[in-house]
Symmetry: D2
Subunit: 427 residues, 4 copies
């Protein structure tokens, strides 16, 4: 049963113009502290240090994902397609709205540094003792579990999971449009209205009508461009490297019982590796930035220097290298060591890889990672069979590596570095 609110509420949104909230349940979820916390987690982590406009939060993005999902379902309902289970509307909307709830501050870096996974946290926030859990439970005691199952792709109606998580889902459509809007780049301008109109429920998944093939090609190319022009921008990677080094150094110091001048809850739990849900929810980017700024006054020189670099944007320089093998890296590290540098912190090698679309994904949920086209004879074809363009970018693993290092430090030892090292870095 749908309990709608007296009058539809709207949020003004630069990407979708208006976001429409018609259900009391959605309205109450948006107003929980756990959802409001997403305002303090940036959608693109450190990208704002490369693209100054990219200061938007996961709060905005989550509303956008909800809105696109709402439009898709509404289209399915208008079309009265039998393969769409109408009674799953609210479960799907909740999963769309809440799928990013477990993201931590500077999500990808913190996950790597502390071996966490945001999807696990999302499910814990849904199912443990939180306001979100309370709101969901008040609607239906089984809702927290159902919503978590959709997000974890273990829901008993696979089409609901497929709607929320697939290579052509509301999440990806919103972030392409939104990240392009806020960074100001032109690459994410996909015709989402056309794609939405051409999605169809088909057995246990969502497919696209064949006439939408070019629109999907364009969407996959936009994704490809956004990855290489924005998400993997070397300046952003440089800031992420420093971020991870700060976390690493702080953890080392904490383990060694270094007397931090600034150390507040829930950082100790984070460093110890076992925050509970309540502690996890106190983590946000305001706290991380505050800690880092405070730490620019710490005694530990390495921590202080790294925090200054991050907060005042004095990032590592980088050099692009076509191929690099393990031996060369070892030589470099050795030469750094010899010259009195610290290769653990003063040298990082980065191999960005992207997989805009993979036609032969392995594993049991494989086919759910494919984009399928539905032709007028009701036959399905995997898109890379039909599209030259998609075939050309399928399975691409880009291999250009980058070396990152603190240029100022290097300059002080430049003359004593071996010639093959300086020639590599001088490129």
């Amino acid at each position: 049963m749908r309990r709608s609110i007296s009058e539809e509420k709207v949020f003004k949104d630069p990407v979708h113009n208006y976001i429409h909230v018609q259900d009391d349940l959605i309205w109450r979820l948006i107003n929980t502290p756990e959802f409001q916390r997403l305002r303090r987690i940036r959608q693109l982590g450190t990208s704002f240090l490369t693209f100054h406009g990219a200061e938007h939060s996961r709060f905005s993005h989550s509303l956008g994902v909800y809105e696109i999902t709402r439009k898709i379902i509404s289209q399915f309902e208008r079309g009265s397609y039998p393969d769409w289970p109408k009674e799953e509307r609210l479960v799907a909307l909740c999963a769309a709205l809440l799928h990013d709830l477990g993201h931590g501050p500077f999500s990808h870096s913190i996950e790597e540094a502390f071996h966490m996974n945001h999807e696990d946290w999302t499910c814990r926030i849904l199912t443990e003792d939180t306001c979100v859990n309370e709101v969901l439970t008040s609607h239906d005691p089984d809702f927290p579990r159902k919503v978590a199952a959709v997000i974890q792709k273990s829901y008993d109606k696979p089409i609901v999971s497929n709607l929320v998580t697939s290579p052509l889902d509301a999440d990806r459509m919103d972030y392409l449009l939104r990240d392009a809007y806020y960074t100001g780049v032109n690459y994410g301008t996909i015709d989402s209205d056309r794609i939405l109109r051409l999605l169809r429920p088909y057995k246990d998944r969502v497919v696209v009508k064949q006439s939408g093939m070019h629109a999907v090609e364009d969407y996959l190319m936009s994704r490809y461009q956004m990855y290489w022009q924005v998400y993997f921008h070397p300046v952003t990677r440089s800031s992420e490297i420093i971020l991870r080094q700060i976390f690493r150094r702080a953890k080392e110091l904490f383990r060694d019982r270094y007397p931090f001048q600034f150390m507040v809850e829930p950082l100790p739990a984070l460093f110890e590796g076992n925050p509970d849900v309540n502690q996890y929810l106190r983590l946000d980017e305001a706290l991380i930035q505050t800690a880092f700024l405070q730490w620019t006054y710490e005694k530990d020189e390495l921590l202080r220097d790294l925090c200054c670099r991050f907060m005042h944007r004095r990032l590592y320089k980088y050099v692009e290298i076509d191929h690099i093998d393990k031996e060369t890296i070892d030589e470099l590290r050795h030469a750094f060591q010899e010259a009195g540098l610290n290769p653990e912190y003063d040298l990082e090698v980065d191999f960005p890889t992207d997989l805009p679309y993979d036609e032969f994904p392995s594993g049991s949920t494989a086919s759910h990672k494919q984009i399928l086209l539905l032709d007028r004879f009701d036959q399905l074809r995997e898109i890379s069979e039909v599209s030259d363009i998609v075939r050309s970018i399928s399975g691409i693993h880009r291999g250009r590596s980058h070396l990152y290092y603190p240029e100022d430090k290097l300059r002080t030892v430049w003359d004593i570095l071996p010639a093959d090292v300086t020639s590599l870095l001088a490129r």
Copy 2:
């Protein structure tokens, strides 16, 4: 002498497409910690609680103001107008870039709560011991003073100040465009290119060619709409009220030596009212938000409640009132007191006023607050003489007031409040 950088640097910007940096001095100023700090101060303070897209910072805006000023000067140089002092280019660009340097976190609210003024702070940051001061001094020992003088409108060439601060300046043009872009509203779409093309240096000020009259009308109307639709939105005012109440309560507690569980530098200096420049620069919105979130665990019930309201967006409700006099307010406060509420915190009256354009400003710098049109006979006319529209909005003081109050608290005492109070609030 202009020392240009080897190759022009650009920043991708959603509003101006690209921001062009051609001078080494500008590049080095952008890379100071003081300027980078502006990334942690939102352009629109608490407006993001009303318009979720409005998460952009004063860093972005400052780059935008610089870019518009660069374009205006470049147009003046191409036109070779004798009234523009060419040698002042860099001073003007620095003043444009740095004019917002002294803004604190949630600027307008903190200024009101702690009786500070961001313009004073800007000048102190320029002239005291900071990296910005060092960079400016390295260019010319007199530059910090000059740039400060331009910002304070005491520069000996008044046209430079007028370019940087006037009713039609780069600051106002950038914020209209930028705030409209990030909130997603349609009201700020002014034809800035046309206005820029029609600006002319004329004696000691910048005027507009008469043919730009309609574009200026449109600009003033956009300003008017942005004020009433965005800047004075009652939900934003509600969040500002709570913000000021938090500052007020924390100051009271600090004065009374309340044992804060969370209290870090430079908050004590702020509460004592005498931060030095170095302390002031450590203030940012990350710190304020971190303090507020930590304080949601404080023992003081009032502080804790206010911080929860702000951080979890449980704002005060409001009711619009055509006219309200002091006596009615006193009666209300009395009734609140009687009912066991705390009128100091549970009731606020707000009279937003706006002055989109004032044709008869008083005081010595009066004429610098006018917009003057230059006709083809080289005569100047103040715009409201010529434009019906501008005349209609000149000097408007809008008087609709709002009462703000915590609805949940009020509901608990509703039955014991006098009828005239409840009827007023029930509207």
Copy 3:
């Protein structure tokens, strides 16, 4: 009964993104020769000679008006407002789609030159022997009459007429957005989505919720700006003057049995003043432009010169004059005559006036020309009572006149014109 088409058809539209056709009747109306003819009538007449982008047709605009009307009705249906007569949906959509069917080539000029009225022609095309009439009749024999009645505001359910024709109707909203888009000016960017959401059926008319007041102000200001910046642009007026002079001259020659080298159906019927519906529908801008280009080879010098001016854009120059009285005009004409010029063709005086909004319209349908706001107590208020801005532009009749004349001809007699004439024109 609504007979919908198997699958919704869409038109890609730059202004509304997609235009959705769900009814077979609408689809068949779009495919009539009479509606397709609107592709050959420009929306903005000769404005393309001022704004080169303004080459869009009444076909595009008519689809846009239909789409906005469809959205309004759909909103009314979702809200289940009792004052909206649901059964009138198709009548309203047809009236919206077809309301401009009777426009002739360069509509306003040709109407003035030949004393015609496009609304009358629209009704004749609806009700006489045409394909549009056939399609409407096949749906319901009474539909042609009904649709015509809605357009003529004599329909027995006034709210249907009010929806289609009012100061805040779909027609005005579409042309503001569309004309701004195609000319490239920034003035027409209204928040139509917001206005649409806030429209309400109320008794026999469509009103706006009070919370939409600022959006309506913005809409009226956009209208005002478009009038003065685009629709009344003096270069456009100049081309319209020449256009009317060509029609006038051709009519004179036709009356005098001048042997035109180019004269095809239905031009004779036009010059004789009595085209029938079939002849009228053969008139389009392709024909007019072809005739004019052919006439640049005619023997009559005046017709030839005027046609060259129009086709090769050698328009009359103009001078702006604050006030001009009848005597001065007579003097000017006399001086022109004396100097050997032809004042009937070589001098035109133009007084553009606009009425963006009129709060006290006279006549019986007066209140239907008002914009009414609906407050939360269900009281109606005429908008200029509440809005300073609207009051300031209500009833404005702008009085700056322009004199238009062929500069090249004038230059040949400049020395023999009286000094007061040359000083007036030299401005």
Copy 4:
């Protein structure tokens, strides 16, 4: 020597915002009848029958190409690159502005029907007795020849031709942006500002800095999408087929001395195949549409039917076919003949092919069809060597064919057509 006009003139343009004219020569060229004629030639021919917004003219496009070229040259001048011959600025601007001067009405179809070539006509208009020739000659007697040589790629400074005509030239950039804007599709949104900034003169051609590789990839993909989504849209192809059939039929009738009720200059010269420049310039789309509308009243049934189809948009239906060989076509034609249809007119087979980018063009000007990237060691690399994406679309010849036929006629003989024919067409 550059003779600039007193004050820069601007045209408001939706794509480039403003188009800036700084040279008296350019201004005078725009005001010639030959250039104004381009207002009566649509940029996208019959595409407006598919995308109703695509009503823009070659006049707008030509101004756009001029503007982009102006910006590129201005960037070259600011950079003071030695390989750019500064003295060629005006020649290049004239060639950019005038390169489309020779296009006829519905250009591609009329060229095919009458074996003409618009580039030849452009050169004749430049060099024979026209106003454009007069204006160019008045500037420099050798200018008509020079401008024609640039357009024909025989100019003695090849870089000038390469700037005006190359796979990454101003022409292509303007049409992608402009056609996307007017049709409303999202595919043409290239970052032209970035590409412009990264173009460099290098020896005798214009190359791109390597850092622009992704922007060029995006440009080529946009081109690819525009070809398949817009330029080769089957509905547009259908209208072109009918257009060519009308020309064919009219030519047959003219050859057979059929007594046309409507036949005006310069159509006879066109049908005879030998129009002179003056006659050619009288051809425009107004004339063609007027002729076609008049011919809907001709006695010849075939001509009349075809003209009705084109003018009232009753186009041929189409069916997509993966592969079709000559024999099947012959069989189809035979079956049509047997059934009493006219296979010359009632059946057309269309094989659209596109070559978005070709890395190994043959012939002497081959390398000028390549896009070359300039790396930081000043080495050139052909883009498909470096980009997977570009390689994937290089040399693509798409082979899906379409059959077009008049569905209404076919339906009347459906029952007597062989089963294999009906099954082919029924798909």
